[in-house]
């Protein structure tokens, strides 16, 4: 019998995995909370990295690899990063062939711009909505496979859990329809979680509302390891908002944008001052800490507020419109000022999780048959992701995981069809009962308010600057929230299109995942990339050049440590005030 493939999540990673499977003759059941075209990949703005070297700068895939490993402060396993960087130029050409309207040079070739953490023009872009354009191209190809009968879409389904047989092998999923509320079990020989990041754990972030990390948090409770959950990227430039912190792309600085505030009555371009070698194009963790320092330690935020300027006004309006139009519109629409004429006011915001489900080099979690790719995995970015490497890792992750699923499934001795129905019925029943319990909760805790509180605590104690005593308090408070969760009362008990019940279920998984972030952070007593502890300001390779692996236990996360693959580039001090040393 033909193997069955389940892909959960219709962002770039999930769609690319789907395309790869279909192309190789398989067929896919594709699950998504929203129409896949609306997945969070649309929010990526600045571009996608690949060392195509069209500007006579001597760029190479090795240099891209070195920048990425150095930018991630040596925490990423080097083999997959190297392979990703080597695949990058081909991926950009492929996306171009798929019809992505990349910006062009006068000769009609792909144009590339600069991004943080590199000295090369390495980032291909479509205006400033590159993620949108890349996912549209993949969405179109998947629609083509859908018409060809190879893809069956389940849009508007929340995947609740993995079905594990008695040997602990993943044999399918349980999912709930967001409209009819029907809970169903689906058999699959290989399941790929391409479910994005967990930004919603922080309440407001640059991530979309579906980015709860819920299913990652769920399979973590079913035995999957989380890798480096503490590594959360805080993007330096976002627009604070009531409902969301909206991203202001790094491409603004790539195109010459300057960050400044007033000091002694005069503009102070503090990134250029602090980091002469890279200036405004230091990596995100570096820029974020500098902005934090300027606003909180030096009290130099604009008008005493925690904001600084991101200034594009010295660049001519036509160039801005062509290269950055999409993000300028966002600022104009949501703030009302024209960034061509006045500097934008920005502040850092939680943006991306480098950590995620632990996977091997073939994208499989420690649960056989359960794969992860895209932001949901932990594989490519170490302790800090370079800008424009996320679109790359999402697409590349799908290119690895799709074929890996097929290879795994074709090697299975027993297919999911051979597994007794009772295995599926048991997990279905378990999830139906859990949902029924939620419906019947009549306490006075509102799940949305509880979530808001979780977000505030996470944002305050586990982002840019981390103190052990605060992280400790956070971890204890998450447990308080878990107790209060037992007294939930759903604001809606209807049996049709009930969003409250879905949200409440996701909230529990967010609490579990959030606790793993906190415990991971608490136990990493060093500073590395996005993880910064003033009490331990240096990177400590001797003790912590290791992947955090968090395993769920009823008493909270238990940590294990795994050696990092550093076979290609020897770890060296990471500095951006001076030029990077050559690695080869």
């Amino acid at each position: 019998m033909e193997p069955r493939y389940i892909v959960v999540g219709g962002g770039l990673a999930g769609l690319m995995a789907t395309i790869k499977i279909c192309e190789a003759g398989g067929s896919v059941d594709l699950f998504s909370l929203v129409a896949v075209k609306r997945s969070h990949s649309v929010c990526a703005q600045g571009g996608i990295n690949g060392a195509v070297n069209t500007k006579g700068e001597g760029d190479s895939t090795w240099e891209h690899f070195d920048d990425s490993v150095y930018g991630g402060d040596f925490l990423a396993n080097q083999t997959p990063v190297k392979e990703m960087c080597e695949a990058a130029p081909g991926i950009i050409f492929l996306m171009d062939r798929m019809g992505v309207p990349f910006s062009r040079t006068p000769e009609g070739l792909l144009d590339f711009r600069r991004f943080g953490g590199t000295k090369h023009h390495r980032t291909a872009f479509s205006g400033a909505t590159t993620g949108q354009q890349l996912i549209y191209a993949c969405d179109e190809q998947v629609r083509r496979w859908e018409v060809a009968g190879k893809v069956r879409k389940y849009e508007g389904w929340d995947v609740i859990s993995a079905v594990l047989d008695k040997e602990g092998i993943c044999r399918g999923i349980v999912a709930q329809n967001l409209v009819t509320m029907e809970i169903k079990v689906f058999r699959g020989d290989a399941v790929n979680l391409a479910t994005g990041g967990p930004g919603m754990i922080y309440g407001r972030s640059t991530q979309s509302v579906i980015c709860t990390g819920s299913i990652a948090g769920q399979v973590y409770q079913q035995g999957a390891y989380l890798g480096n959950p503490e590594m959360i990227q805080v993007h330096p430039t976002a627009i604070p908002g009531a409902d969301k912190l909206r991203l202001m792309s790094e491409s603004a600085r790539g195109e010459g944008g300057r960050v400044w505030t007033y000091r002694d009555g005069k503009p102070w371009y503090f990134l250029e001052d602090m980091f002469p070698a890279y200036g405004n194009l230091v990596p995100r963790d570096i820029a974020t800490r500098a902005i934090y320092q300027v606003c909180y330690d030096m009290k130099l935020g604009v008008d005493g507020q925690p904001v600084v300027y991101l200034d594009l006004t010295h660049i001519d309006a036509a160039t801005l419109d062509r290269k950055l139009g999409g993000i300028l519109e966002i600022y104009e629409k949501f703030i009302g000022d024209d960034p061509r004429k006045v500097p934008m006011k920005i502040f850092p915001a939680v943006h991306y999780s480098m950590g995620g489900l632990w996977v091997d080099f073939d994208a499989m979690t420690n649960i056989p048959g359960l794969f992860a790719s895209g932001e949901a995995d932990y594989q490519y970015h170490g302790a800090n992701r370079l800008g424009a490497n996320s679109l790359l890792s999402a697409i590349y992750g799908g290119m690895v995981s799709g074929p890996a699923m097929m290879q795994y499934a074709q090697g299975l001795k027993k297919s999911c069809a051979d597994i007794p129905q009772s295995v599926f019925d048991a997990e279905l029943k378990r999830q139906q009962n859990a949902t029924e319990k939620l419906y019947n909760m009549r306490g006075n805790e509102n799940p949305y308010l509880l979530h808001k509180e979780l977000g505030e605590w996470m944002s305050e104690h586990c982002t840019i600057v981390r103190y052990n005593k605060n992280i400790q308090k956070l971890e204890e408070h998450i447990q308080v929230l878990m107790e209060r969760y037992q007294k939930l009362g759903l604001p809606d008990t209807g049996r049709y299109a009930n969003q409250s019940v879905i949200f409440a279920r996701n909230l529990w998984n967010m609490l579990e995942y959030g606790r793993a972030i906190a415990v991971g952070a608490l136990n990493r007593n060093e500073s590395r990339g996005s993880h910064y502890k003033p009490e331990f300001p240096e990177r400590d390779d001797e003790n912590f050049l290791k992947t955090t692996k968090a395993k769920w236990t009823p008493n909270g996360p238990a940590l294990e440590w795994e050696e990092v693959d550093v076979q290609y580039i020897k770890p060296r001090p990471r500095r951006y005030d001076v030029d990077k040393e050559a690695s080869k």
Binding site: A35, R38, P101, S103, R144, A242, K244, L247, G326
Partner: protein
């Protein structure tokens, strides 16, 4: 500041159910948008009469006007709720679901029709495969720029909502899908398949159903030149019609 904003929501419990209005008073704050108002109701589901009610059901995702999910009719105009800033709206603020689609519940709608239209017109580049086949075709920068504009369609449905010819009673696929055909037939690879692409919009529900009301272009949140696309495709269809006639 204790100012409250009155929000009127057209609610509906299910697809066949009768719609009703419910009003809410939301505390004003800087940069408040319609999404944040609906989120307030989730956290405190009490209506303006002080009665407990259920949270309003609606779809949203990116909250930065790029995913297309939160389209609804706000003060009579189809648009995205995330970019609907309270400061810029007349009060009370009225929100209703897009009316041209099946209403699932409250403001949550089923827009499968829009995606089915994209299937019908084969809105994609027919690549040979995702293997490494080298660089893509060269393209004039100015052309890439206008194609980029057309490619920003997020399938939100505002154009369809505003179109008098788009309804349950008609098969018209709507402005968005036709504009997508213009995008693909102008791509160097799509150009190899021009005739098939144009054929896809010449039958029932195609370009001939456009009544030229020009509403679509006025409501498109991405300011896509939809009427230019429609006019262009009308001309292409005519050329194709003559060509087919002459060649049997």
């Amino acid at each position: 500041m204790a100012e409250v904003i009155r929000l009127r929501v057209k609610r509906q419990d299910g697809p066949g159910a009768a719609p009703y209005w419910e009003e809410f008073d939301i505390k004003y704050r800087a940069n408040l948008n319609v999404i944040a108002m609906l989120q307030d109701i989730q956290q405190n589901p009490v209506n303006a009469k002080g009665q407990k009610t259920t949270p309003v059901v609606w779809g949203c995702n990116c909250l930065e006007e790029i995913c297309g999910e939160c389209a609804m009719v706000i003060n009579g105009t189809p648009r995205q709720a995330c970019s609907a800033l309270v400061d810029k709206l007349t009060k009370p603020i009225t929100v209703e679901p897009l009316s041209k689609f099946t209403i699932i519940r409250d403001l949550y709608i089923d827009r499968a029709k829009l995606f089915n239209a994209l299937k019908k017109v084969n809105a994609w580049i027919p690549i040979d495969g995702t293997y490494d086949l080298g660089q893509g075709p060269k393209q004039p920068p100015a052309k890439a720029d206008w194609m980029y504009k057309l490619s920003q369609c997020m399938t939100c449905g505002c154009c369809a909502e505003s179109c008098p010819n788009y309804s349950d009673k008609s098969d018209f696929i709507g402005p968005a899908a036709i504009s997508q055909v213009r995008l693909f037939m102008n791509h160097p690879t799509g150009q190899l398949h021009r005739d098939e692409l144009v054929d896809n919009i010449m039958g029932n529900g195609g370009i001939a159903d456009c009544g030229k009301s020009q509403n679509c272009v006025r409501v498109c949140p991405k300011e896509i030149p939809l009427t230019t696309s429609l006019a262009d495709m009308n001309r292409e269809a005519l050329k194709r019609w003559f060509s087919r006639g002459l060649r049997f």
